[in-house]
Symmetry: C2
Subunit: 353 residues, 2 copies
C-alpha cells in the first residue's frame, strides 16, 4: 500500500498537532450526489451497490473526487452483519430496512450463533482493498460497523421502529436472550472491524444510532458494554500504525464520560451537544468529532460559513477536533453547499492550530 499523503484526520483523532481541522461528512457518499444516484440506478438497488465491490468503491470515491475532504468512508450499510447471519435483509423505497426473519426467541439467537457471518462478508473486505488501491494514499479510509445494540434493535424489531416495543419487551422480560444476542453481535462486530483493518481501513467508527433510547443503566449494559468489547478487541490487534477508533451514540447526552472512558480514541457528537462542554468534560482523554446541525446545509452560504465558525470556536484552540456534521448528510442538500462548508473549514480552521 502507498504511504498516506494526508494524515491530518489520523493525527487529529490521536490528538497530535495538525495545521488545520480535518473534515469528513457522515454519509458523504449518498443520495444528495447526482453521481451516486446514477451509480445506484445502474446497480439496480441499494443492496447490490453495497455488495458489488467495484460499485461500492466507485461511490466511496465520488465525494473525495468532488470535495476537498480529509477522509473516505467505506460505502456500506450498517446491517451487513445481520444480513450475513441470514435474517433476510431487504430495502423498499422510502421504507427503510426490513428483515424477513427477525429474532424473537433463544432458538433464533442460537441459530444465529451457529452462522459464520464473516464467510458472507468477503465483499466488504474486497471493497476496502479496492478503495485503498484507488485512493492511492490521498486520504485515509474509515471502516465502520453498526453497534451491537443498534444491530439488535433492527434484528428484533424487524424494521425501523419508533417505540422499540419488541426489543424493550425482551430487555425487561427475557434479558438473557438479549444478552446472548449482544454477546454474539459484539464478537461479530469486532471480527468485522478487524477484517476491515486487515484489508486496509486506517480508522474505524462504530455507529450506535439507537443507544440514546435507553435509560442510563440500560445504556451502560446493552449499548456501551458491547462497544467496549469491540474496542478491547481492536486495541489488541497488531498493526503497523495506530488505527483510531471512533464511537458515536446519537443522543448520548449524560453518558459522554462513560463513552470516553471506553478506551476509544474519539467520540462523535450530534448537534444537540455543546463542543465546549464536551471538551471540558472529556477532551483530555479523547478527540471529538462533529457537530454541525445537518440542516445548516439548507441555509444561504453566509449562514453556513457563520455556523462553521461557531463550531470551530466552540471547540477552540488546539488539536483533537474532527469537523463533521452531527448526523448524516440529508438527501435534499445541494452538493454546492458542501463545497461552501468544506471551503469554510479550510479557511477558518488554521487559526485554531
Amino acid at each position: 500500500m502507498p504511504p498516506l499523503q494526508n494524515d491530518v484526520l489520523i493525527r487529529a483523532l490521536l490528538k497530535k498537532p495538525v495545521p488545520r481541522t480535518p473534515l469528513w461528512i457522515m454519509r458523504q457518499a449518498g443520495r444528495y450526489l447526482p453521481e451516486y444516484r446514477a451509480t445506484r440506478k445502474q446497480a439496480g438497488g441499494f443492496l447490490t451497490l453495497c455488495k458489488t465491490p467495484e460499485l461500492a468503491c466507485e461511490v466511496t470515491l465520488q465525494p473525495v473526487e468532488r470535495f476537498d475532504l480529509d477522509a473516505a468512508i467505506l460505502f456500506s450499510d450498517i446491517l451487513t452483519i445481520p444480513d450475513a447471519m441470514g435474517l433476510g435483509l431487504s430495502f423498499s423505497e422510502g421504507e427503510g430496512p426490513r428483515f424477513s426473519r427477525p429474532v424473537s426467541s433463544m432458538k433464533d439467537v442460537e441459530r444465529i450463533a451457529r452462522t459464520r457471518p464473516m464467510d458472507g462478508l468477503g465483499y466488504v473486505c474486497d471493497a476496502v482493498r479496492m478503495i485503498r488501491h484507488e485512493l492511492n494514499g490521498r486520504v485515509p479510509l474509515i471502516g465502520f460497523t453498526g453497534s451491537p445494540w443498534t444491530l439488535a434493535t433492527y434484528m428484533v424489531e424487524g424494521e425501523t421502529s419508533r417505540e422499540f416495543r419488541k426489543i424493550k419487551s425482551l430487555l425487561y422480560t427475557q434479558p438473557d436472550i438479549l444478552e446472548r444476542l449482544l454477546e454474539i453481535l459484539s464478537q461479530a462486530a469486532a471480527d468485522y472491524l478487524s477484517a476491515q483493518i486487515h484489508a486496509g481501513a486506517q480508522a474505524v467508527m462504530v455507529f450506535d444510532t439507537w443507544g440514546g433510547v435507553l435509560s442510563r443503566d440500560a445504556y451502560l449494559k446493552y449499548s456501551l458494554g458491547p462497544m467496549q468489547h469491540i474496542v478491547s478487541e481492536l486495541l489488541r490487534l497488531e498493526t503497523p500504525h495506530t488505527v483510531p477508533i471512533i464511537l458515536f451514540t446519537k443522543g448520548v447526552g449524560h453518558e459522554l464520560a462513560d463513552l470516553a472512558a471506553s478506551g476509544c480514541h474519539a467520540v462523535g457528537l450530534d448537534w444537540t451537544m455543546e463542543l465546549d462542554q464536551a471538551r471540558a468534560q472529556v477532551g483530555s482523554r479523547v478527540a471529538l468529532q462533529g457537530n454541525l446541525d445537518p440542516a445548516v446545509l439548507y441555509a444561504p452560504d453566509a449562514v453556513i460559513r457563520r455556523e462553521v465558525q461557531k463550531v470551530l470556536e466552540k471547540y477552540g484552540q488546539g488539536s483533537g477536533h474532527v469537523f463533521n456534521l452531527g448526523h448524516g448528510i440529508q438527501q435534499y442538500v445541494q452538493p454546492e453547499k458542501v463545497t461552501v462548508l468544506v471551503d469554510a473549514v479550510r479557511e477558518f480552521s488554521p487559526a485554531y492550530h
Copy 2:
C-alpha cells in the same frame, strides 16, 4: 366547584410535604384502554372525540375510574390551536396528523395572525368545565398545550417529520418568519392555557415534543423562549389557588437548568434522564415529574415493581416528585399492568415521605 379532596399532586408540584408520591400517566386516556377504543369507535374518529365535550369528558374520566390515579388530564390533541387557526387538521389511521394548509411563507404567517383561534376552541373549555363537574373534586384536572416550537414543527412540516427539513430550513434561511410564527403561537398558547385555567384546570402542562432536535442556542431561542412567555403570562393570572405549571421537553438533556429557571413549578423528565442527577441540579428550584421507561409496562409484574422502586429511590426522600412515565403510555400495554404500577407506587412511596 366542589373542594379538592385529593390535593397530593398539587402539593407535590409545589414541593409541599405529602404523605406519598402522587401518580398520573401521560396519555392515560388512550388506546391501551378498551373503554377508550369503544368510545372512539362510537365517535367515529379521533378529532370528533376531541371536539365533542361529552365524549372528551367521558374518556378523560375512564382511567380515573379504573385506576387509583392522583390526577385527570384533559383529553385533547396538542394540535387544537393550529386546527383552530384554519390549517386543516386530519388524522389518517396509523399515519399521524396532517395539515392540508401548512405554513411556508410570511404571508401564511400573517394570515394566521389574523385568525382568532380562541373563538374556535370553546369546545375545549366546555370539556374542562364538564370534567370538573364530573370529577366532583376527587382529583385535580390537568390542562395542557403543545409548546409553540412543537406546534410550529407540525405547522411547517405539514405532518410528523423525522428530519425536520422544512422548519430547520426556515430557521437557518428565514428566521424572521419562524420568529413571527412563534410569537403568534406563544400568545395563542398562553391564551389557551389561561382559558383552560379559567374553565377549571387546576394544573397545566406544556408538551415540547420536538425541542430535543435543536442545538442548545436554537433550543433557548425557539423552544424555551416561547415557553417562558407562556409561563410569564400564566404567573400573572389571578386565581384562588396556585395553578402549577409543568414544562416537558423530550430529550432535553443539557438544557435542564435553563428549563428549570423559566419560572415553571415542575419539569417533566423522559426516561433517559437520571432523577438523582436532575434533582441535584435543579431540585431546589422545581419539582420533577417522571420518569419510568414506558416499555417497562411490557414486563412481568415483579419487574414493574422493581423498576418503580428504582425510580422512587433515584428521586429519594422528600416532596417534589410526581411519579409518571418518561413518555406517553403505549397502545399495546395491557391495562392490568397499569394496576401493578399504581399499586407499586402506592405501596412503596410512603417510605420516602
